[in-house]
Symmetry: C2
Subunit: 139 residues, 2 copies
Amino acid sequence: MRISTRGKYGVRAMFDLAMRYGQGPIPLKTIAERQEISEHYLEQLMGNLRRAGLVNSVRGAQGGYELAFTPGEIKIGQIIRVLEGPIAPVECVEDGADPACERFDSCATRLLWERLRDSMTEVLDSTTLADLCEEAANL
Amino acid sequence: MRISTRGKYGVRAMFDLAMRYGQGPIPLKTIAERQEISEHYLEQLMGNLRRAGLVNSVRGAQGGYELAFTPGEIKIGQIIRVLEGPIAPVECVEDGADPACERFDSCATRLLWERLRDSMTEVLDSTTLADLCEEAANL
DNA sequence: CTAATCCCGAGTAAACCCATAGGGATTACG
DNA sequence: CGTAATCCCTATGGGTTTACTCGGGATTAG
């Protein structure tokens, strides 16, 4: 029941960018050092986030990454979905999964997994990067 | 963000036992066939559940497994913890994890993971096998 | 005695995770 | 215009986990 380092690192990196929102592009190297994440590995994650439209990149010297939206507009759930895939404890309760479940009594356990999925989604989609920044300020 | 087949199969098998609670021991083979789970694989899972005290086993012919408590006394969270480990999206918010987090601003993300853990725990520990049986009856 | 059953440990193929390596493209700045 | 800083891309590899399979031993009802 763990998320992988992808989601963990991704949220950390995005939080790092959120804390410096509006200060121009932040180089990957800086984020990686501050967050103690392998640079090359983080690069792959940032690539995914960029292609998903959550960050913009600026190439060349003095370049780096910046959020594509304000911290208040980016939900943690979006980051997780990009880096970890759909938020669903089992495949058959993924959003848009085919509803044909040939198993008869699995339906009972399915309701359980749906409730679990919903409660996870609720937490992850009701928290934005701005919320994390605010919480960080109160520590 | 998936549970493995261990948790999935385990819940299915325990649900199967709950639906037949009080009818004497159910052989593994029967459960495996009904739930379409590899027999040898399920055997390993049942071993874990037995050692955790959630099921009793009866050896020899006419033997099998039965719940060690009434369906209403067994929470899904207990099954998941036996087969999947602690319910925690990241290691540092495991119950009883050392509170020494040398990372400074990870604290902000930590609050998030704690909220996620709590919402997952809430769902899994507020549902019992009896709840699943009841839901199955209403389908 | 025998068949049914649980019990146990080893082995294994595939997938996934977490990187690492090396080079190419772009651009600010002197 | 050259150079260093930076993003971009693909490939590779070791380690771990997953989801089994296999083979045999122990126990017990009938």
